[in-house]
């Protein structure tokens, strides 16, 4: 905790939190939103295929995954900066734990979806594949809900509060 408190007061993170520059907190927040849009959105496209709602060849959709991983990296990096800028409040917020758990499970699900696409044998979507797809979408909804509710529930914190 001492390390995190120290980091929170580092020049860079103080500038992010209090600097008032558009390239600071607002841009990090936008990167986080854009990344979330791409990760959850593109993995939902894959999920819709696994639910049988489009007939795109499953292996052809593998080309989406580099974009999903790049977007996840941007979301994770911006999320880490947002966390470190306000670590003491966010880490004390139980809703944040729900958010991180949902994201971890969703990413595990996305990796599993990729494995199912690679193993595709041309047989129509099996029941287990549909459940996996549905689970991934529901986990992204859970992560989004927890992310939004962090601004309203838990200890008051830095600039992310209920905007």
């Amino acid at each position: 905790m001492g390390l995190l408190a120290g980091l929170e007061q580092s020049a860079f993170l103080v500038w992010i939190r209090e600097g008032g520059s558009l390239f600071g907190y607002p841009s990090i927040l936008f990167t986080h939103t854009l990344g979330l849009g791409a990760v959850a959105g593109l993995s939902t496209v894959v999920a819709l295929r696994m639910l049988g709602l489009t007939d795109a060849a499953p292996r052809a959709l593998l080309r989406l995954f580099p974009a999903i991983w790049i977007a996840f990296a941007a979301t994770a990096l911006s999320g880490a900066i947002l966390l470190l800028a306000d670590a003491s409040a966010k880490l004390a917020n139980p809703v944040f734990t729900v958010k991180l758990t949902s994201i971890a499970l969703a990413i595990a699900g996305v990796r599993r979806m990729r494995g199912r696409l690679m193993a595709d044998t041309g047989v129509p979507a099996a029941g287990r594949d549909r459940l996996l797809a549905l689970a991934v979408v529901l986990l992204w909804i859970a992560a989004t809900t927890a992310g939004r509710l962090m601004a309203y529930l838990g200890p008051a914190g830095g600039p992310g509060r209920a905007s």
């Binding site: 959105g41 959709l61 939004r148």
Partner: protein, 308 residues
């Protein structure tokens, strides 16, 4: 958004719908699928344009009503008529969009009356809205009592005042609407990113038609975000109507919405088969579409920060 912008734009939805109905009538008499398609596309454009009309009206209300020249009561009556008209317009646009989407999937455009009936009903609500709006600044309309008809039951719960109260008095409404808005954001962005990405050369093994099948999810998410967005504006109008970042968001939304219509109804994207490049026009449109949706998200995210 200035009150003057509202006066400039406010005839567009009604005139657009009237023209669309004329095109659809002509298409029946001439048995022309092209005319019907144009009529349906015009319905979608009219629905899209209704958003800045409504929002500029909210801006005019915040700026002027209660002042010496604009009666707050007359402005409220106009707003209470505008909201059901907006809802009806969105549903009409949705019916038209669905007909256009199905025409590509099924290979033919249906000649059913649903969109035309919805458009006719919406025109009635728009006329009622316009009459009440006219009463605000035309003394001859107000004197004739034309803007003072009794409220039918449908308007009572769908009035701006009732919705604003629902938002401000129930603490769960705003966070729930925000959550739904974000979920709608990524469903919409994922589908349009994949569809536009195909036109730009990613996923070349996938025929555009397979991604076209996913567009209803984007349309549903669009509708969800319009509905939740309206709750935000009605619940806290002052946060949005004086904010130039919000104006840029709506401008970007117009481009993005038009591009979604392009993906749905035009031949360029539809004809992009597996392993074939998209036509140059489609690639330009795809880049513009992605840029527009990024713009919608950027200006939306920047609302609390960007003072333009």
């Amino acid at each position: 958004m200035t009150p003057h912008l509202h006066l400039v734009l406010n005839h567009a939805p009604a005139l657009g719908l009237a023209a669309a109905l004329c095109l659809m009538a002509l298409s029946w008499s001439r048995r022309s699928e092209a005319l019907r398609r144009a009529g349906l596309e015009l319905c979608c454009v009219a629905a899209l344009v209704t958003l800045p009309v409504y929002l500029s009206g909210v801006g005019a209300d915040v700026r002027l009503s209660g002042g010496p020249e604009v009666s707050r009561a007359l402005a409220a009556r106009h707003h209470d008529a505008a909201l059901p008209a907006l809802v009806a317009m969105m549903l009409t646009g949705g019916c038209a969009w669905l007909a256009l989407w199905r025409s590509k999937q099924a290979g033919r455009l249906s000649h059913g009356p649903i969109t035309a009936l919805a458009a006719a009903g919406t025109l009635v609500l728009l006329a009622r809205t316009a009459t009440r709006g006219g009463a605000i600044r035309h003394p001859e309309i107000a004197a004739a009592g034309l803007g003072a008809d009794a409220d039918p039951a449908v308007a009572a719960w769908l009035s701006a005042g009732a919705l604003a109260d629902a938002v401000t008095m129930n603490a769960w409404v705003w966070p729930a609407a925000e959550t739904l808005h974000f979920v709608g954001l990524w469903v919409l962005f994922g589908v349009v990113l994949a569809a536009n990405g195909r036109l730009l050369g990613v996923l070349t093994a996938v025929p555009f038609g397979a991604l076209h099948r996913l567009l209803p999810w984007a349309a549903l998410a669009f509708g969800l975000n319009v509905a939740t967005g309206m709750l935000f504006v009605i619940g806290a109008p002052a946060q949005y109507v004086g904010n130039a970042s919000f104006a840029w968001k709506i401008a970007a939304l117009m481009v993005a919405g038009a591009q979604l219509l392009y993906l749905t109804s035009f031949d360029g994207p539809w004809a992009t088969a597996a392993h074939r490049p998209a036509p140059p026009g489609a690639r330009v449109a795809a880049a513009a579409g992605i840029a527009a949706w990024v713009g919608v998200m950027y200006f939306g995210r920047m609302l609390p920060f960007l003072e333009l």
